[in-house]
């Protein structure tokens, strides 16, 4: 019998901080698309201990977060896993613990956190100004970003 995995798509960010809200925005749109009945959708504001509570009980988690790199083009979509971890906006910008420390903590305390973790990060332009709208490059590129994220999620889900 095929075991059905519970998969969480977790958007991280602040949706009143311009491009910082790209993760939650994508998750809200993904939730409307009926991609896979086994997907759960959620949004969170920050990482660390908070994230642990969101991901507990799932088999696989796909984080969608914002990222700012030195040379990246706004709208570029990246994929990585914790072992080749790069800092995204919220998995490293946390209230109390960073994401990797939290994972380690969960492991030591045997909290039953999933180990099958994936990160999709979108290069952003602005996250220092309050606003509900994305900046022009991301707004303009949004349909392509969404398609790319859907494609990545489907591939990750099959792994």
């Amino acid at each position: 019998m095929k075991i059905i995995k519970k998969i969480l798509i977790l958007g991280i960010g602040n949706d009143i901080l311009t491009d910082d809200g790209i993760g939650p925005r994508l998750v809200r749109d993904l939730a409307q698309m009926n991609i896979n009945p086994n997907f759960g959708f959620d949004v969170a504001g920050c990482g660390g201990l908070e994230i642990m509570e969101h991901i507990k009980g799932y088999d696989k988690v796909i984080f969608i977060d914002a990222i700012r790199t030195r040379t990246g083009k706004p709208g570029a979509v990246y994929y990585f896993i914790p072992s080749d971890f790069r800092e995204t906006s919220h998995l490293s910008n946390l209230h109390d613990l960073n994401f990797l420390t939290s994972l380690k903590l969960g492991e030591i305390l045997e909290l039953g956190l999933p180990s099958d973790l994936h990160i999709i990060a979108v290069e952003i332009l602005e996250d220092m100004v309050f606003g509900e709208e994305l900046t022009f490059p991301l707004k303009n590129e949004y349909p392509r970003i969404l398609r790319k994220v859907v494609s990545l999620i489907k591939k990750i889900a099959e792994k």
Binding site: A44, L49, E53, L97, K104
Partner: protein, 487 residues
């Protein structure tokens, strides 16, 4: 002149930079503490119905969303000229006590304990919560996570969401509490009380029974003689949700006591050209610069200042611990910055006890959840104690309740001058001519402001951050001679 740059700061909410300028003798000349600022919050609020603000402000800080939500809810009540009915008030306070339990727990075990349990000179790879668990055992770590989660569950139940809170509506709250839910919260609160007592026992065993630590707290370069601010009830007991703001001077005498709408008569903000963040001071004394003592206009608003400013705690166990703290530390007021950790744990116990009291209150399951709204006065101030200090929200609206202007004095902002002074004092105490600035010394300097549990996320209207630390030591000509990178 040599220049040391710490940028950004570890285990501190929001990201910031400390620059320590040394003179040619290798001693501290000056210290600047800077934080980047997010822009446009006031503009973002203008033109919106004021009743939207409690939900919006919960998003300006991922660290203390519940505090902003509460201060905002109270300011909105004032804008509409209403007082929530007793049940609604108690439900708000119940939520708020759970918020304090979860926040103070996280601060002690994740941010403060590593310095004491693992040790201030331990390598950064060990000086974190994982190192704490290695020392104290997995069972305690599991309990910390559990109690924090239970407090979050209470907030999620009453607040609609544990982070993006939507509890308060003008004149009341959006939902009540069933008897079953109340019983569940009471059970959790009983656990909080035991957990707070246990945490104080850890503090006693690890810190108070260690002569080196007690000496560091009382005699190290961590003492700062400032006035103390805190919200008090009608009996001058500590209160986080409601009451008047009381300020006592460096000798413990009352300087002033004011209601929320009067805050502008008592507090003003000084501006320095090198930082976006302002420096609140006591108007009665005036801004006299970054000086400590009776003639200074600088105050602090912290767990320790709240205890200094009050005549006691409103719950029995916390009161006992309050008395023990002052007896041990030589009477009121206490000016030892690191004693904030003890004061925070006294508050943890108070929050737990008050949470239980409120859960057992017959009125908590009442059905009258909202007051009738009247004409709109168009201006309102709400003040609560955030974990990090007195939090003030002030809104101005038109006659339809549309926001025209917003002013917020965040908990950490109250402490901006005090934090700068504490860092300088610690730096002066530990950086000496001919002494290599090691990671351990850096951490001892960091401890001076970590005690404040500062959150620059909302102080600068910025989202929380935790980033690596870089220390650079430069020759007077700017040439880099030493660089330390952490994390």
């Amino acid at each position: 002149m040599k220049r040391i740059t710490i940028d950004p700061i570890t285990r501190l909410e929001g990201h910031g930079k400390i620059e320590i300028f040394l003179n040619d003798e290798g001693e501290v000349n000056n210290v600047y503490f800077q934080v980047p600022e997010l822009r446009g919050f006031e503009k973002f609020c203008e033109g919106r119905p004021v009743e939207e603000l409690p939900a919006i402000v919960a998003k300006i800080c991922g660290v203390c969303p519940g505090c902003h939500h509460m201060a905002s809810g109270k300011a909105v009540d004032a804008v509409f000229g209403v007082n929530p009915p007793p049940t609604a008030k108690k439900l708000r306070e119940l939520f708020y006590m759970a918020h304090f339990v979860h926040s103070h727990t996280a601060h002690f075990y994740a941010l403060a304990a590593p310095d004491f349990v693992v040790g201030p000179y331990a390598p950064p790879t060990k000086r974190n919560i994982l190192g704490v668990i290695e020392k104290v055992g997995k069972e305690i770590g599991t309990e910390v996570i559990k109690q924090r989660r239970l407090a979050q569950e209470i907030q999620a139940l009453l607040g609609g969401h544990q982070t993006f809170v939507v509890m308060n509506i003008p004149g009341g709250v959006r939902r009540g509490l069933s008897e079953t839910e109340r019983d569940d919260i009471a059970d959790k609160a009983k656990g909080f009380v035991e957990f707070a007592k246990f945490t104080l026992k850890i503090f006693e065993d690890v810190v108070l029974k260690n002569k080196e630590y007690v000496d560091l707290i009382l005699n190290g370069p961590y003492s700062l003689k400032l006035h103390s601010m805190g919200l008090v009830d009608a009996s001058n007991k500590v209160n986080f949700y409601d009451g008047k703001v009381r300020v006592v001077d460096t000798e413990g005498k009352e300087l002033c006591k004011y209601s929320p709408p009067e805050y502008l008569d008592y507090v003003a903000e000084h501006v320095e050209p090198w930082t976006y963040l302002k420096f609140p001071f006591l108007k009665k004394i005036g801004w006299k610069g970054f000086i400590e003592g009776q003639n200074s206009g600088v105050y602090h608003a912290t767990p320790l200042s709240r205890l200094n400013a009050a005549d006691g705690m409103a719950t029995p166990l916390a009161q006992k611990e309050y008395e023990r703290m002052y007896t041990t530390l030589g009477g009121k007021p206490v000016h030892a910055t690191l004693a904030m950790h003890w004061a925070r744990l006294v508050e943890l116990l108070y929050s737990a006890e008050r949470c239980l009291e409120l859960a057992m209150d017959p009125e908590i399951t009442g059905r009258e959840l909202r007051a009738q709204l009247g004409p709109i006065p168009g201006e309102g101030v709400g003040i609560v104690e955030a974990q990090r200090g007195t939090l003030t929200h002030h809104y101005w609206t038109d006659e339809k309740g549309i926001v025209k202007k917003v002013n917020i004095i965040v908990g950490t902002t109250n402490n901006h001058a005090a934090i700068c002074m504490s860092i300088k004092k610690a730096a002066e105490g530990f950086i000496k001519k001919g002494v290599e600035v090691t990671d351990g010394i850096l951490n001892l300097i960091e401890m001076s402001f970590r005690a404040y549990d500062p959150c620059f996320s909302c102080a600068t209207h910025c989202f929380p951050g935790q980033m690596p630390m870089i220390l650079e030591i430069r020759e007077p000509n700017g040439e880099l001679i030493q660089r330390l990178i952490r994390n």
